[in-house]
Each structure stands twice: as structure tokens, then as C-alpha cells.
Subunit: 401 residues, 2 copies
């Protein structure tokens, strides 16, 4: 159960808090029986019934008979979200991709637009225009009466927590941009911004491979390799938001020169280009060529398998360091690394075992991302849902005003 | 200022909280003027005066004229701790060292006993007896009327937070020992246990090189190399308390075999034995031989300098990885690593710059531990002071009962 700090002690505050808790539970879990809500929240059945009724009246949730879930025993009512009651727009902005999705209450991606695949999105005005246009199309496609409660953005850069200013996005060449404010104005919506790696890790924690785990390392990335790290359920940011640059852990001091200026970084030794190079392919072949090599590995072709095993060993060495450093519950491999892991799992696991200490190694799980390329969209959607989940009726009332 | 959550809302709770806040401020800072306390706590002068009077009456603090600090302007009263009013016993237990200190309110080490230097402390009964005997001697030496409020222990192992059970101390061969409870019984004192690396980092944060910084990496150790890491001011523990095993970051895949089974760990490449080996000395020469080599480096002897530079580069590579991973405010080098840094600072700094990204590198400070071998004692003392700082009058009353 998600617990929130109760800020005041007036009845209104308590009721708002309880409404938010119920909606959050239903949103995260997809459905919650009245009995579960009663047990988890420590409130009596009639209070829960009363709170649920208010959310039903606001159109945010529905009640249906729990027998729909095939349960035995006394039938109970269960509460489910209305995906079309409230939705958010979620933007996943990368250097070479721009995906905008409409995500409904309950977390399902209801609709999605990808703007000009492969285009370079470093020109600010064009990028804002493209986002606004994609959002417009998605809103037009939404059912009548569905209320858009906000827009969330995943960006490849450092975001200032207090006001969502994009401090620094090196691969886009952007510095100190009020991107959230600008989009919020253009769209006339509350806008929220966060770092892509942080959102990826939070998304796996909320809805993916890391549900139930608070100490999480997500390693992913296509061009570079980055880490989203949760410590006690919260993103590790460090002093300035740069924490988690684990693509530059040096796994091989005799390795290749990295674009960071160092040599033998995890990124240069275990990334897409490393596998292509090891397999004798042009290193700029991209994901298509990468997947071809992995398909050959899966088919048992020795040369491809050898190339993949070499790269997998560097990946395992990097994971081992992270296991020693963070003693995580789970390490989630996302993107191309997850695809590599799928065909070199034994090699990766053996190397992780060799390069980590027994105690933290015994406690860690290795898994492939459950969300794949949707992780940032799902994380960004949660950002935008947060105010509604904090104060459901208050947010709907302010939208209506 | 240290803020605490106020658990209830009765007047007693609020008063207890305020008394604890004042005592904590005075204990941490050595002295606090009434004006500072008034400003920091947001209470009016007469309330502060009243609270301070209660602490004075309990014998925990004194008031003196602030002119003693040489300030200009209107003289103000300042509040200072009475070091002999209340003290704790602080135990720093290592595999081959056992130091017990008497630490007064205000944090000064007032007295100290080292039990049989160099002895192996892995035999539990003998170790408990030695701690009890050292504590007895320190209590006998304390001034009449000084009240011992608890004992804190720093241990080289994993401690379960909830109840202070020592889960696992590999180098002592101990598993699941209720060491705190056992000592508490023998000494008839509240006893508190924590991991040595965590306490070392907290001590630097509270009273050492990392005061004012919340994102801290402390790298230290004599036999092994370990890390105490603070994320947002709190120790990074991970799932099972094993986080921070940064001595086993692999800096050199072509390096020597480490006792962990891996090769080229930071510990094997940058530790005491590494320098001794590089300098052509027997690797088991210990700290004395290590310091002889460092003295030769300081004196400009080329062969020693070359050996030290090689080791310093591996240290720098390890620090660079930690800078990328944690984006810390400060990296503190303790013990022999601090001594190495003092004579190879340029080499370490250059390597850190080369092996970390520009943005986090610009934000990090490198420093030598300010507490040296006292860090664990000071950390353990703070553990034992915590209940008194939470509820000063309540703890004194329960002692008197």
C-alpha cells in the first residue's frame, strides 16, 4: 500500500488523503476489492464504501462484482479504474526518437504517436511543435468526456527537482530550458519533467520487472548505456542529478577509447557497437544489425556466439560491480542489453558470480525489462498522474473551473 | 538544524521534541547562541529561554556569555554542552583492534583504552570480556556524577537495523550474534550496534571532512578497502546491508587475484599490500612499512614515487567510477588511502579527472578524512547518544530510576 504523509489534521485533509490512497491503489493494481482496501487502509467498511462512492460519482472508478475475477466464497465488490475518465499525455523524448502516448487511469497505453522516426530532435522549436502536434492528435482521438489531467515528459538530461527546469541535456545540446513550463503553456496543461533513466527505473518499480523491490538497478540504453538506480524506492540522483552514469564504469582498462575520454567503459565494451565490432560487422549498423547477430547466436552459430559471449562477459563484470556497490534486490537489463542477456544468460550470470561477493550475489535477481521501450512513457505518465492521485476531487474540480 | 518528526501533538511531545532539538544543536556544534536557536527553531526568545533553563537544570548544558567567542555587538548568552554531565562508551571493534573510548556530550573523546593491540578478536567470549573490562576502567575514571547513558559499537559486519543483531561479520567468523544485547546486559546499559563503514561515513558527515554534505563516499580500510556511502545523508545499505563493497570494484582486469576470487579489485591494486609490492617490499610489512614507503615518496625518492604513482592511478580510477556512479558532493579518503593521497594528490586527481565525466567531476571534492582512526569511535558514540538527544529529560529520568 502506498502511504502518504498527512499534512494537516483537518477532516478535509484526511478525506482527501484517503481518496488519493484508494485511487492510487486502484490505479497501480488495476483492481482492488473493498475488503483489500479496508484491510490495507485500516478503515472500516462503511468509510471505505463512502469514499469509493465519491470516486464513483466523480467518474474515476467503477465497482463491479469481484466474482468477475473468479473468486470463491462470499462475493465482494471490487473497484477498478475508468481508463477513459482521466488520462495523461506521456512524452518520451530521446535524441533520435519522440513518442507521445495517451495513457489512461490504470496505466494502460491507450494510443500512441511516434513523430518522424530517426529524426534529430535537438532543435528546440521544432521539437516543441512536434510534441504539441502529437498531443493535439491524441486529444482529438480521445473519447468524449475523457479528461486530460496533465502531460509528463521523459528527457535525456538532468532536471532540477524543484521546478522541472531542464538543466542540461548534453546529447541534445540544451542547457537551462524551461521545457516543462513552455509545453504546459502551449498545451494549457500541468506539465512535469524528469530524467529518462530515473523514470525508467521508477516505471519498472511501479509496473514492470521490479515491482515489490526497493533497491533496483536498471541498465539500459541504445547509443550510450545509462543506469536508473533506486535506493529505498527513490531515484539515486546525487548532488546535481548526474548519478547513475554507470555506462562509464571501466570494465576493461585495455579496452577501446570511449567518447567520454576514458577507455574500456561498460558502454564501449558491452554496447551495441561492441557486439557489432566483435561480430565483424560495421559498428554503425544499428539495432537491426545487432538483432541479426543476436538471431545468429540464438541459432547456435559459433562465431556469433563467441562474439556475444565476449561482450556478455564485460556486461557481467559491470553488473558484478553494481551488485557489490548497491547490494540491490534486482538488476534489470533493458533495451539491447536485455536482448543480449536473453541469448547469453549463462555467460552473464557466471561472470556476475565471479565478479561480485557471495553475500550480495546471493540476494540479487537478474531480469530483463518487463516494459521494454515503453518504460519511459509509463514513467512519464505516472509523473503526470501524481497530482490526481494525491487529490482526486481537487484536481477534477480545478479542471472543471 | 536537525528536524525531527513530531510523533504526537500533545504539549509534552512538543516540549520533548524541542528540548531534544536544542540539545542536539549544542552537542553537534559545540555551542549555540540563544539567538541562533531562536532563529533556527522558529520559537520566540522566552520559549527558548525556558527550554534552555530546563536543560541547564538537568545539568546537560551551561550558559555563558557569548562574548567569550569574541563577538562584537550586543552580548548574547550562548549554550554549551557539559561534557561531564553525560557520556557514552564507544567501542570500535576490528579484526585486529579493539578501542573503547569515553565520549562526552559535545562529542569530545575524553578517555580511551586500546585492548591488546594486534590481537585477533574473533573469539567471542574473550572479546566481550575485553570490552566489558575496558568499559569498567573508563567508568571508574569518569568524574563523580557523570552519567553514562549508553554504549555504541562499531563492528566490521552487517547489522540488522531493527534490533541490532549482528548478522554476519565474515572477517571475525561471526553469524547471527546478539552482540548488542549481550553487552547491554553485561554493562547494564542501553547498547547500540552499527556497521563500521556506515559509522565512518556518518562520523565524517556529522563531525569530520563531510560536514554540510549529504552525498558522501568514504573510502578507507587497512586490510580490505570498504566504502561508507551516504545518499541524501543516510547510509546506503541495499537489500541486506552489504552495499558499499567498493573495494571489489574491478579497476584492473589484468591485475592480481583478490581474496574475493576476482582479479584486479580496487583493494588488491590500491591497498597497503599493493604499495608494498610495487615498492619491492614484503607485502605483509603492514602499516609501518607502508608509512616508510610514503615517507620516501614525500622525500622525493624516484623509485618510491613511481611505485606510489602506480598505486595512486588505480585509486584514482576507482574514485572516478564512484564519481560517475554517485555524483557525490565529496569523496573522503580515510586510513592508509588518505596517507597515500597526501603524497600522490596530483596523480590521484588527474586519474579521477580522466576516469569520470565532466559534469559530476566538476561537482566533487576530494578530501582526506578529518577524523582518521577516530571515525568509528565518534560514529559509535553518536549512536549511543541518540536516545538522549531525542528525549533528554526522559532518558535522565529513566537512568535515575
Amino acid at each position: 500500500m502506498t502511504r502518504r504523509r498527512i499534512r494537516g489534521s483537518t477532516q478535509d485533509d484526511v478525506r482527501r488523503h484517503n481518496l488519493g490512497t484508494i485511487l492510487t491503489e486502484v490505479h497501480r493494481h488495476g483492481c482492488r476489492s473493498r475488503a483489500e482496501l479496508t484491510a490495507e487502509m485500516g478503515l472500516n467498511r462503511s468509510t471505505i464504501g463512502d469514499l469509493v462512492a465519491e470516486l464513483v460519482e466523480a467518474g474515476l472508478v467503477l465497482e463491479r462484482s469481484a466474482s468477475a475475477r473468479g473468486r470463491a466464497g462470499r462475493p465482494s465488490l471490487e473497484v477498478v479504474p475508468c481508463p477513459d475518465a482521466a488520462y495523461v499525455l506521456a512524452v518520451d523524448l530521446g535524441v533520435r526518437h519522440l513518442v507521445v502516448a495517451r495513457v489512461g487511469l490504470g496505466g494502460d497505453v491507450l494510443d500512441r504517436v511516434e513523430a518522424e522516426p530517426g529524426r534529430d530532435w535537438s532543435e528546440l522549436d521544432a521539437t516543441v511543435d512536434a510534441i504539441v502536434e502529437a498531443c493535439r492528435r491524441l486529444r482529438v482521438g480521445a473519447p468524449d468526456g475523457a479528461r486530460c489531467v496533465g502531460v509528463g515528459l521523459s528527457v535525456p538530461g538532468v532536471v532540477r527537482q524543484e521546478d522541472g527546469l531542464l538543466r542540461f541535456a548534453p546529447n541534445l545540446g540544451w542547457i537551462d530550458l524551461p521545457l516543462g513550463a513552455r509545453l504546459g503553456e502551449r498545451l494549457d496543461l500541468p506539465a512535469f519533467l524528469a530524467n529518462d533513466a530515473d523514470l525508467g527505473a521508477l516505471a519498472e518499480h511501479w509496473r514492470g520487472a521490479a515491482v515489490g523491490y526497493d533497491h533496483v538497478v536498471v541498465i539500459s540504453g541504445e547509443i550510450g548505456i545509462g543506469g536508473g538506480i533506486l535506493v529505498g524506492g527513490r531515484p539515486l540522483r546525487g548532488r546535481g542529478g548526474y548519478a547513475g552514469e554507470i555506462g562509464h564504469l571501466r570494465v576493461n582498462p585495455d579496452g577501446r577509447l570511449c567518447r567520454c575520454g576514458s577507455v574500456g567503459c561498460l558502454e564501449t565494451e558491452a554496447g551495441v557497437e561492441a557486439l557489432l565490432g566483435a561480430a565483424g560487422r560495421p559498428v554503425d549498423g544499428g539495432l537491426r544489425a545487432y538483432r541479426e547477430v543476436l538471431a545468429r547466436v540464438a541459432a547456435g552459430e559459433p562465431k556469433a556466439a563467441e562474439a556475444a559471449a565476449g561482450v556478455a562477459r564485460w556486461l557481467g563484470a559491470g553488473v558484478g560491480m553494481l551488485v557489490n556497490t548497491f547490494n540491490p534486490d534486482i538488476v534489470v537489463l533493458g533495451g539491447p542489453l536485455g536482448e543480449l542477456f536473453a541469448v547469453t544468460e549463462d555467460v552473464v550470470r557466471r561472470t556476475v558470480a565471479r565478479s561480485s561477493l557471495v553475500a550480495p550475489h546471493e540476494q540479487v535477481r537478474l531480469a530483463v525489462s518487463a516494459l521494454g521501450t515503453d518504460a519511459q512513457v509509463i514513467g512519464a505518465a505516472e509523473l503526470a498522474f501524481a497530482p490526481l492521485l494525491e487529490d482526486p476531487i481537487g484536481v477534477l474540480t480545478s479542471l472543471a473551473a
